[in-house]
Amino acid sequence: MNLVASSAKTNTALHLSGIIKRFGEHEVVRNLDLEVRKGEFISVLGPSGCGKTTVLRMIAGFEHPTTGRILIDGSDVCRLRPDQRNLGMVFQTYALFPNMSVAANVGFGLKIAAMADRDIQRRVAEMLELVGLTGFERRFPYELSGGQQQRVALARALATKPAMLLLDEPLSALDAKIRLSLREQIRDIQTELGITTLFVTHDQEEALSMSDRVAVMNSGRVEQFGTPLEIYNRPATRFVASFVGTLSVLKATLLDPASGAVEVATATLKNLEIPQGLARGDHISLAVRPEAIRFGVHKGDAILRGKIAGVGFYGSVIRVRLLVGNETITIDIFNTPLSPPPSRGEDVDISIDPNSVFVMRAE
């Protein structure tokens, strides 16, 4: 069931160029550019207040950009009202109409489009089957759980076969377990239908696990737009590195930019990639992902020594806190039943692959 119109000229479903949004004096979105391809699942990820919801609402038509253009399927939509843009939207608060049954809710957009009753019934049944709620036609929103309500909202948004699907933090109000199962369900439905989707969230796990590409936003700007792998392994900015995933950070001093030598605690590490603009003696921060650190001594890696400060058991992962010098870093290792986890107070060696270290200017 592929909903993508085959007569479109370009492959770009959505093009935001030069978007600036000001509320009075406050600039909420600064000079934003974004291009989304047809059929892609894009997450817009960022902390509260970064402007991601505002961007979504501008695409939907509830807000107007102060300057800039929004092109959907190649045409400028700025003159179109929200009810004319042929989009589907799922809200954080579900927004199901309380006076209507599930079937009436899902069929609302079709009723407005003056579709025949029989056709509406058929499409509603189709949609409810898609989200796994066949048989719920006559129920009312107040009788449904949060997860069920959100699935109805999804069915309702997709019933009109919109050009694009917008989701505004749809899983934030749900329990953890429901969130996980719904995550997969949304992604499966999206893949099956092939509909271009924009997913706004502050949960980086959601963004990384569901998306084709992720736009990380901070203070109104997109700091990086790339695949989950790129964002995680090669963060473009300090913010992206610390917001996406966890980081272990150590303070260091730059010894030699050319050979990539730095001094950490009492050890010297070599062959690190040093960004431009840093000179000998500068204070820097070394950031590395917890899973990139290994116990023991491995050839070619940077070697450090530390004392175990604490061990946390997370099921499949064991998180170890290590005291290096007078800083604590986090190390994640898999829980393998064969080798016992390290114990508190032990002195250990750790190895870090120089390629997985991010070097940044000290705060």
């Binding site: 939907a60 038509g61 509830f62 009202r81 929200p82 009810d83 004319q84 843009r85 989009l87 589907g88 939207m89 809200f91 608060t93 927004a95 109409f97 309380p98 006076n99 209507m100 609302f108 957009g109 009723k111 407005i112 489009a113 009312f140 107040y142 909202a153 309702r156 948004a157 009109t160």
Partner: protein
Amino acid sequence: MSVSEKDVPELGISEPSKLPITRRASALRRLDWSALIGVAPFFIFALVMMVAPTVALIANAFVDHQGHLTFGNFADLNTPEVAGAFAESIRLSAASAVIGAVIGLGLALTVGRGIRSTKVRSIVMTFCGVASNFSGVPLAFAFVATLGRLGLVTVAIKAAFGIDIYAAGFDLASFWGLTVTYLFFQIPITITIMMPAIDGLRRDWCEAASILGASSWQYWRHIGMPILWPSLLGTLALLFANSFGAIATAYALTGYAVNIVPIVLYAQIRGDVLHNESLGAALALGMIIVMAFANTVYLILRTRAERWLR
């Protein structure tokens, strides 16, 4: 609930007569006695000062002068005067309720959806609170000063447009004059009740409808009005009950001119006209039935509205 062996050590099933008392005793022991003593004053007050007088009065509706049980008083209610009073009361209550609800809804929508300033809203809500309690002699006097024969507005209209509204047939001390006066508190009551309901129309419903292709009018037709409808009907019922039981304004404005039930009842108590206490009691019972019905309708509709919007 079973009686354990510990409670009745020596008794076996062979002495069933002693078991029910023990069972009752342990049930009594489960009651929260200290809390019950705490709420006792409230219930005693309610019983003595609210329920008892009403019941005693209603009981009197079923006896005649000699104290014998009779339904004769209800037959007496069928006089043109009393039946006319009920009909008039219903007409008046319906008129002020419907007009009050419609205008009140319009104003509530205007203020609720249009005005964003919290200061203005606060002033409007305060005024509504004041106006809904503003009744009786002060209200009657205020309207006489406005629309009476020498009222400010009457005189102003004559001066500005040359129209004498009294010559055209308008009279404040009449059915419609009373209705207009009642609107002064009926409209604010509507606004007070409908404002939370209108505020409860979440913005995301409007946005969801919009994204699904609905125009503003379609939103109101399919979603907005249906959601407000139970509250509005409930308000109608409440306004009806409120108007039906009101006497002070009517008495002050029209005296005995407009024949409504509370006025007739007032006359009975005062002993002005017939001094037939049993008839008065029957009247009171009639009023209570109407009020109880209207209030029940209001409650059912309110519960329904609240259930949807949980």
